[in-house]
């Protein structure tokens, strides 16, 4: 109940018309980006907390993370994760570049009907 209330209400609009300082599309993307930056910071701090707790418990030694060298298999997995991550977030660049190579592309709403044979 409270979780669903929070989903719905936490980001509620305050009474009063919102000012825009940039082009609305730019401001919208910047707002999304700044929230992503916030969540990245939160994830980074969580990982830092984990490292410090592991060190305090003697599970992780100082410099162990910085000197960590993945074996070939792990290295490939990690680098592939990087590639996948970049491909995901830069999807629109890929799609715009592909679109530039298509000569006469039609929009869905402008797609002409097929002529019915014999009509």
């Amino acid at each position: 109940m409270s979780f669903n209330d929070a989903l719905k209400e936490a980001g509620a609009k305050p009474a009063g018309k919102r000012p825009y300082f940039l082009e609305p599309q730019v401001e919208r993307v910047l707002a999304i980006t700044m929230t992503l930056a916030q969540e990245l910071a939160v994830a980074r701090q969580r990982s830092d907390t984990l490292e410090r707790l592991l060190k305090a418990k003697g599970i992780l030694a100082e410099e162990e993370i910085d000197s960590f060298t993945p074996d070939a298999h792990a290295s490939a997995e990690r680098q592939m994760w990087n590639q996948e991550f970049i491909a995901r977030i830069l999807r629109i660049v890929q799609q715009e570049n592909e679109a530039a190579l298509v000569a006469d592309e039609v929009a869905s709403g402008e797609m002409p009907d097929e002529a019915v044979p014999g009509a």
């Binding site: 109940m1 409270s2 979780f3 209330d5 929070a6 209400e9 936490a10 980001g11 509620a12 609009k13 305050p14 009474a15 009063g16 919102r18 000012p19 825009y20 300082f21 940039l22 401001e27 910047l30 707002a31 700044m34 929230t35 930056a37 916030q38 910071a41 939160v42 701090q45 969580r46 907390t49």
Partner: protein, 408 residues
């Protein structure tokens, strides 16, 4: 580099807000997960970054681009703060800073509301357990919320101070209390009460023989700035008047769990307290960072009520951000006006240009008994940056205030 004059930096090289985990908790304070705390830490650092690293660029752009362009276009320099602000709206430095500052406030509200709403039932139950049947909480469900509060949610806080989401609700009080750290960066101290301690320090220094028995605070919300008054004068009874039931419920629960018992919370409009309090029934009437949220009509009514309620020789004190004086640079005035236009503080601009002395006289105070002073937030210097020594200027947010008041 750290400033060697500051004894309060957690480590020698660190200069900024403390970790949120040093905040003072009490019986109705919301639980905060690791990630919720880090969200608040991030947002406090965003405000710090904007004030310390971005505002200087806005100022430089004003000097290098905005002011010369205005002068070239109009054949005269910028004439007032409204012209300065409108001219800056055409400059990317001001617009980028503004967009980021607005977003940071919106993110702060979302972060704080998430924490409060997800545990709403539990918070309401804790508040109820602490306040049920206590005659120090007087609510008036029929109280009409005036338009100067309801039309625009102050500082982008959805539902403002008054909206209730369930019977016995304290959600908006919990949001207001626990995440205000984002804006102050700790400058108001462990219990966000540095403003109240500053007022007490000022009174003890400037009116050393003052021994109030009945103190009244208008617009005291959850009691951040009020409880220090009750703590400093344990023989006195402090009454907090506010429009918002969620603030008052939360406020009494908070006060009791902090061991402050000589305080009562009353839901009423400070514009008209006839029927609740008799003429001359208070020794001290206080407001702290409250006047800017009032329409002119409300401000005049409230000044009038303060005059009516004070006994002869009683004192009224209003603590506020500094007024716009002719010697304040137009850039600074325009930056201070930002909250009025872009952070839902609709009366901020007008209030800060009012002749408050004239308003005090209009309310019936004698001009030669008007008080002027200045105070800084008082905080625990072991943990927090100290406002008096912090030269980062976050126009309108810094814990450095003016006092205007009068002896009745």
């Amino acid at each position: 580099m750290a400033d060697p004059k500051r004894p309060n930096s957690p480590t020698a090289d660190y200069d900024g807000p403390p970790d949120y985990r040093v905040i003072g908790r009490h019986g109705v304070f919301p639980q905060t997960s690791h990630d919720e705390i880090e969200r608040i830490n991030f947002l406090a650092q965003m405000n710090r970054h904007l004030a310390a690293r971005v505002v200087p660029g806005v100022k430089a752009a004003y000097k290098a681009r905005v002011a010369p362009a205005f002068a070239a276009a109009h054949g005269r320099p910028i004439g007032n703060r409204h012209e300065a602000r409108k001219a800056m709206l055409g400059d990317q430095a001001f617009c980028t800073w503004s967009a980021l500052r607005r977003m940071t406030m919106e993110q702060r509200q979302q972060a704080g509301r998430w924490t409060a709403i997800r545990q709403r039932e539990g918070l309401n139950a804790r508040a109820s357990a602490l306040t049920h049947g206590d005659d120090r909480l007087t609510l008036n469900p029929d109280l009409a919320i005036p338009r100067y509060v309801s039309a625009v949610d102050h500082h982008c806080m959805p539902g403002s101070y008054h909206t209730e989401y369930a019977p016995g609700d304290v959600t908006n009080g919990a949001n207001y209390d626990h995440a205000g750290f984002v804006t102050t960066g700790g400058l108001l101290g462990k219990y966000s009460d540095g403003g109240g301690h500053a007022v007490v320090q000022w009174v003890k220094k400037n009116v050393p023989d003052f021994a109030p028995r009945r103190i009244l605070e208008f617009g005291g919300t959850v009691g951040h700035s009020s409880l220090p008054l009750a703590q400093a004068f344990p023989e006195a009874e402090l009454t907090i008047v506010d429009l918002g039931a969620p603030m008052l419920r939360y406020g009494l629960a908070r006060a009791k769990s902090l061991g402050v018992n000589n305080v009562r919370f009353v839901q009423a409009s400070a514009e008209d307290l006839t029927g609740l309090f008799e003429d001359g029934s208070f020794d001290w009437v206080q407001t702290t960072m409250f006047l800017h949220e009032l329409s002119t009509r409300a401000l005049r009514n409230i000044f009038g009520e303060s005059r009516r309620l004070l006994r002869p020789g009683g004192i009224v004190l209003h603590v506020e951000q500094p007024q716009y004086a002719p010697d304040m640079p137009l850039f600074e005035q325009a930056m201070r006006d930002w909250d009025a236009f872009y952070n839902n503080e609709p009366f901020w601009s007008r209030m800060h240009e009012m002749d408050l002395d004239a308003e005090m006289v209009r309310a019936g105070f004698e001009r030669d008994r008007i008080i002027h002073g200045g105070v800084y937030g008082v905080v625990d210097r072991e943990l927090f940056p100290d406002a008096a020594q912090d030269d980062t200027e976050d126009y309108g947010r810094k814990a450095a205030w003016h006092v205007i008041g009068a002896v009745a």
